[in-house]
Every structure is written in C-alpha cells, then in structure tokens.
C-alpha cells in the first residue's frame, strides 16, 4: 500500500501542476510546476520525504527507461533527418562546450565577488 499511496501522491502533484499550468496560461509546463510545487511542499514540511521517497527514487533511478518510446519516434523521422544529421550533431557538440564555459565563467565570477565582499567585511 505504501508504494501505491506514494504513486497516488505523485500523480496528484502532476494534476496540481497541470492545473497551475492552466492558471498561468500554459506558459510553463505542468510537470515543471508540479516539481516546483513538490519542492515548496517539502520545504514547508506539509509533505514529508517519507510520503514520496521510495516511489520518487524508483522514477529517478529508472528515468531514462521511460524515454525509450520517445526515442523510437526517431524511426519515423529518420529519412527526413538524414541530410541534416551531421549539422545537428555539430550544433549539439559546440553548444555543449559554450554552455559549460558560460556557466563556469559565471560561477567563477560570482565566487570571486563573494570572496571580495567577505574580505571587505572582515577588514571593515
């Protein structure tokens, strides 16, 4: 019963997420809003980790498996994609480096600013 109840809570959060998505005019995906809602409920203590933990971990651990049908959708698109395949891969490769570089540079800058701020406080 425990796992079923946890699954029920997760499904209820999904529904709440969809309702929130409707409330914001569909501008944010329901699953993302459901995730934010669960995070807020956990932080406020209204929802305990024990209410969802095992079932949530099952999904997290096996997340990739549930994408198999989505990936197989490529079978119907393959002919259409064949001429652009190389370019698609190249976009993925280059943007991955650029994204990591931008994130790393920003973190470095923020950490340096924080350190300087902390030093100033100590001196002052």
């Amino acid at each position: 019963m425990k796992y079923l109840r946890q699954l029920g809570i997760l499904f209820a959060l999904c529904t709440a997420g969809e309702l929130l998505a409707y409330a914001v005019g569909g501008r944010l995906p329901g699953n993302v809003l459901g995730m934010m809602l669960m995070f807020v409920l956990l932080c406020t203590g209204l929802l305990k980790l024990s209410h969802v933990e095992e079932t949530a971990d099952f999904f997290l651990k096996n997340m990739a498996f549930f994408f198999l049908p989505a990936c197989l959708g490529i079978l119907e698109l393959f002919e259409q994609l064949r001429p652009v395949l190389g370019r698609l891969l190249l976009v993925c490769l280059i943007t991955t480096f650029l994204t990591a570089l931008a994130a790393a540079g920003t973190v470095k800058l923020v950490l340096a600013l924080q350190r300087r701020h902390a030093d100033k406080k100590e001196v002052g």
Binding site: C43, T55, L68, T99, A103, A104, T106, V107
Partner: protein, 229 residues
C-alpha cells in the same frame, strides 16, 4: 503467431529487456558512450525494423511508459530537497551559473542553427537540448519542435558532456569543484552528472543541483521568449 505476439505487453517486456541489456553493457564496459537508453533504443529500433512492426503497434505499449514521465519529472524535487543545505550555501553561484549557462545554451543553438541553415522546427527541437529530458521534451512540444529529435539530442548532449567536459574544463584550468560541478550539470544534465559524481562529492552534488535549476531556468526563459516574440 505473429498477431499473438504483437501485443502491448510484448513490447513492454522487450523494452525492459533491451534496457536491461543496455544497463549491463554500460556496467561492464564502464564508459558513458555506452549509454543504456541509447543501446536500448538501437536494439528496439532494430527489432521493430526487422519485424516490420509499425511504430503505432509499439506505442500501444510504449505510450504507457510515456505516461510515467510526468511523475518522474515531479520526482526531481526530491534530490534538490535532499541537497537543500548545499543549495543554500551555494545559492548565488548555482542560480547565476545555471541562468547564464541556459541563456548561452539557447542563444548559441539559435545562432548555430541559423548559420547551418536548419529550419525553425529543428531549431525549436534543439533549443532545450541541454536540460534534463522530461523538461526538455515538454518544452520542445510547447515550441512546436519534434520531440523524438529533442530526446535524442538531449542524450547526445549528455554523452558529449560526460565524455568531453571534464577534460575540456581541466584544459582551461577550471578545477574548483563547485565551478566544475555547476558547469557540467548545466551543460549536460543527468548523463554529465553521472561523470561529475566520479570526479568528487562536491562536483556530483553541484552538478545534480544544476540539473533541476537549469531545467527551471530554461523553462522560464523559453516561456518568457514565447511571450515576447
């Protein structure tokens, strides 16, 4: 015999088997290139093509799996909550790194797609390619992209990140564990994170947090972009 075997449950059983083979290969060969989902997709794809099974037949069972993607995404709140103390301690670097990383990811996809002459549908399919699959696929659908292209681009991005980013960052002398973790998680989600965990505990925790935060940032940026344009 053929009709007896062509049932939704058969495809579900074979899907689990294909994924299991992928997991075992991944464990045995110990390389991120051997991604369990990629192996499973190639195996299942081969079975469908060789048996001449229409995708719709497979989806009679497969659709059942897709249904579980929403609760799986909601579950992403759990690891963030578990790392709440780490998140609070590094709130600013994580938020700023994930935000700027997401902006550059989206921006560079749009620019490169234009440069390479890829059409709008493909561009929209690639825009969310750095974030975790459930969020990325949903965003691609909202933008009118092709969700299978997004799903595969996300896995490939994860593989590039896991295989190449640790060496790339080292080459640039970026070694601070917080910085490395956030960069890998923002650029290459859970697949990259599996590699960041091997680099160290802080790298793994930061990368794990960056998955959810970058997903959220990208969702907001896409929603903002859609409202403005």
């Amino acid at each position: 015999m053929r009709d007896t075997l062509n049932t939704p449950v058969t495809w579900l059983a074979l899907s689990v088997l294909a994924y299991e083979i992928g997991l075992r290969l991944n464990r045995k060969l110990r390389t991120p290139i051997c991604n369990p989902l990629l192996v499973a997709a190639i195996l299942m794809g081969a079975v469908l093509v060789l048996t001449g099974t229409p995708l719709a037949d497979y989806n009679a069972g497969g659709g059942f799996l897709t249904l579980f993607l929403t609760p799986a995404t909601v579950a992403l709140a759990v690891p963030i909550y578990r790392q709440l103390e780490v998140l609070k301690k590094n709130l600013l670097p994580i938020l700023a790194g994930a935000l700027v990383g997401s902006i550059v990811s989206i921006g560079s996809v749009i620019l490169l797609c234009r440069l390479f002459g890829l059409d709008d549908t493909l561009t929209h399919s690639l825009i969310p390619k750095s974030v975790t699959t459930p969020i990325g696929v949903q965003l691609s659908g909202m933008l009118g992209g092709l969700t299978p292209v997004t799903a595969i681009a996300i896995i490939i991005t994860g593989l590039f990140g896991a295989v190449l980013l640790p060496a790339f960052l080292k080459l640039l002398r970026i070694t601070d564990p917080v910085t490395v973790g956030i960069a890998i998680g923002t650029a290459s989600h859970a697949v990259g994170t599996s590699r960041a965990i091997e680099l160290g505990e802080t790298e793994g925790a930061m990368s794990g947090l960056a998955i959810g935060v970058a997903g959220l940032m990208t969702a907001m940026l896409v929603s903002l972009g859609a409202a403005v344009l």
